[in-house]
Symmetry: C2
Subunit: 133 residues, 2 copies
DNA sequence: CCTAAATATGCCTTGACACGTATATGCTCT
DNA sequence: AGAGCATATACGTGTCAAGGCATATTTAGG
């Protein structure tokens, strides 16, 4: 009997560095387990286990190709993360600005993870602190 | 001696449900530890520990207010998550569509997660199956 | 200075998860 | 059917984070 414990949320799934590496690999194209294994220098069981977690969480799906399984991305969980981020978007930019950056990112669509330096932008939220009870 | 082990990535930070709850709380306004404690039904040490993790990861900053510490959000780590998501955006919609949905979300700013059905887009990599090495 | 309030930290236990090694399952071809 | 490749699963182990509980620290005010 195999117990699939918890791993409820998408956030726990992407918390694992190797899983993020697998996901990034699959952006370029679908890959077999062996291809992932060789590119990421992980053992085959490790790859398979992570793929299982990713599949059960809906991040990937597998296509049978003879003895191989080709894995490819599925969009829904990413949307879920994106939806969660929404509530915080107002903190790093106002509406129009966010739109522009969003567009900008999609125009370029760079495959590498861009570690961009961001300019801090003060939040526009005012708060009263002083009251002591 | 207190070891601050790893907790390197922002993804591990937001993997913890209580931390996400704290972050969501702080969207509306900055809060003291006690306020967070009572609203989220966590013990005070638990709240403090999570806040420490969040602070060291740059998700929040604290303002001293007498005996209280007021915590409020900082944008950078959220941007980092957003940047990571970028590489996957092509998977859930084309450019215009993404823009529309992005706008739509910001207009309504609905807190619920939208579970949209998407049309898959085939990868451009053909599988070479036959060759054995 | 002493006390109370608010928050931070230390120690300990527990449980989850990631990995390695070994093995099982599945598929193909001869 | 049997061999060989590709992938999945089982089991044991080590590590580390999260929380409970106790206590330290900080600040305000009498």
């Amino acid at each position: 009997m195999m117990y699939i414990k918890s791993m409820e949320s998408v956030f726990e799934i992407i918390a694992e560095p190797n899983r993020r590496a697998i996901l990034s690999l699959l952006v370029s194209s679908q890959q077999s387990v062996g291809e992932i294994e060789s590119q990421l220098r992980m053992t085959q069981p490790t790859v398979s286990k992570h793929l299982r977690v990713l599949r059960e969480a809906g991040f990937v799906e597998s296509l049978v190709d003879a003895q191989r399984r080709l894995y490819r991305l599925k969009p829904e969980p990413f949307q879920e993360v994106d939806a969660w981020l929404d509530q915080f978007r107002r903190f790093w930019s106002d509406r129009v600005d966010a739109l522009e950056r969003h567009l900008d990112r999609m125009e370029r669509s760079s495959p590498t993870k861009n570690k961009t330096e961001k300019v801090r932008r003060g939040s526009n939220r005012e708060r009263d602190k002083g009251e002591k009870k």
